[in-house]
Amino acid sequence: MDLYKIKDNEPAWQSGMSKNITFIVTKDCQLACKYCYLVGKNVKERMSWETAKTFVDYVLEHEDEFREESVVWDFIGGEPFLEIELIDKICDYLKLRMFELNHHWFNSYRFSFSTNGINYHTSEVQSFIKKNREHISIGITIDGTEKKHDLNRVWKQPTADANGLTQPSERGSYKDVVKNIPLWLSQFPDAGTKVTISSADIPYIKESVLHLYSLGIHQVNINVVFEDVWQEGDDARFEEQLMELADAIIDGGWYQDYACSFFSEHIGKSLDPERDNQNWCGAGRMLSVDAAGNLYPCTRFAQYSLRSKKALIIGNIKDGINENLLRPFLTLDRITQSPQKCLDCEVASGCAWCQGENYDAAQTNTIYERSTAICLMHKARVRANNYYWNKLYRKLELEGRREEFEKNERDVKPEIC
């Protein structure tokens, strides 16, 4: 007899054991999404081969400083596939040098991409995928229904503004992305998409998740933006949408083969001050490099990501990392950066934060002030999440499948950033 199953949220590759190293290959993108945290996107800052090569040499020749078992070479933008030729060259060089150096990452690496999907079908991208098939993860961002997707994910205007920054047009990108989804899923059937929710998106959550399921996407990773964009009443509207989504997933039986990261059994619990004191965010354990050769603890600390603070640069490709600048990141814990209301919160587990957004929103130049802009949204999510699991377990109970489910349930904890 087949085991009764419920689709769990997929953990990341080599979760917790890999080093994430990110190339910001370009700060350009075909789109100008309205919720994008990259406030400084532009067409000028494209990484050169010399910069990429120097960075690769620095990382691989300092093996002692990068002892993680595995590595994820991450390529982001803007839109990374705008620089597919450079990426191809970098990846070839990475493979060659890891082999030549007998580097411990040679047999444990991945190339990872988050793309808007527009160029996915091109011969250059397809050729690259074919060449590196066993070592690639690609996530295409599609936000849901055409209406929801096009609400935010719009093409940029053909010309930049006076400061060289891209500006949004009225033209949505849904049709340009959705045409590539079948090809993507045929190559990466287990791939997930990442959906971002801002205030205006709330009414479309349910239909969007179900739409993505109907496209054949089994894993929908979805989160609310960390920025302080929320309006009065958004939490109630959010809770209502999630409850409707819960009904649809359970009543429609989607839960068996499809997952939505909004629903997790691990969220909404109180946290122990000692046992659960770890930082949520991985900033500082990651490493990013931009076109200028500057190094960052995460891309969110590059200038194009910051609204109100200066870039937090921890080194450069010539001089390497200033280890003193990493110390605050590597000693960050939940208690030290959280306000009292978070420490007292009875539904604290799963409430995420982004260190870059914390830094950007802080009263002073610190990464030690946790932004709580999503507080009400998290609490709304917890209420809907409780509803989801209570309803699902009752259904399983009535069907006589609960015990079987609990026995076979995988212990998947929420992924940190």
Binding site: N324, L330, T331, D333, T366, Y368
Partner: protein, 305 residues
Amino acid sequence: MMQYLVILLDDSSVSYCHCDNPHKEHHLIGLDDLRAGILYAMKQNLMIQFVYPDYELPQEYLDVIDTIDHHDIVPHPMKGDVVVAKDLETLTSMQADAVAVLRIGKAELFASGEAIAAILPKVQRLNIVITDIDTFTDDDLKQYNSLLSRLNEVLKEEYLTGHTPQLNLLTDRMMLTKPNHCNAGVENITLAPNGRYYFCPAFYYSNPDDSIDPQAIPNQQLLRLDHAPLCRHCDAYHCRRCVWLNRKTTLEVNTPSHEQCVAAHTERNAARQLLEAIRQKATFMPEVEIKEINYLDPFDVRKEW
């Protein structure tokens, strides 16, 4: 709880800590600002520490200063509660009842072991401030160890004869059973000659735009020990835990640099040796225990906490 108000009487007031004072021009604090600072201290019940320039103040300033209990931090050869030496030579001619401060770079310090050893028996208390501690290298550490060992020899002999000079680098840790940090922004704040408040003089010297409202300090909790992830586990109790140096080297006021931690632990371990050496000959500070440890930077053992 706030306890002290430091008032810099002039832009050229003497520096007594890690940060150099880049101001050379004389620019006295306004009399109204001085009076306001004193009034603030009276209302908040703060002890005032006046920091003087190297010239005689106008009588009207001295009259205002005399309206409140205070301590004086002065440059040599002025008389005060704390006297900052210009150099090693001036140390020898200092008043015996004052706390002497010597600001010195590491190269000169390492070359001055015998001179300092000769001075120690003549002082009541000497604070050595290493002005470039953030540049300590492994080689510097070896030299620093040698210097502290040499000074330990002198201190041991003095203590065994009943004379107990204090040297901040060695004897403070030997006497402490709990942290004794600077606590700028938590226990003390500074009024600068521009009439604005700062965490400490160094914040004013390095960037006059870094002023604060003493009644509403944003993220003040980050200045406290309980919000310093490394320091709250640390037993180098004598370390000043300088928030200005922290911010300069790590960009965060609550995180010290590797170099600061290593220097402080080198002093801590030397203090442990001094304590043991004295105890081999006499009963001394039985309530103090300095454990043997196998690290110099708490960052390296953070996962054990």
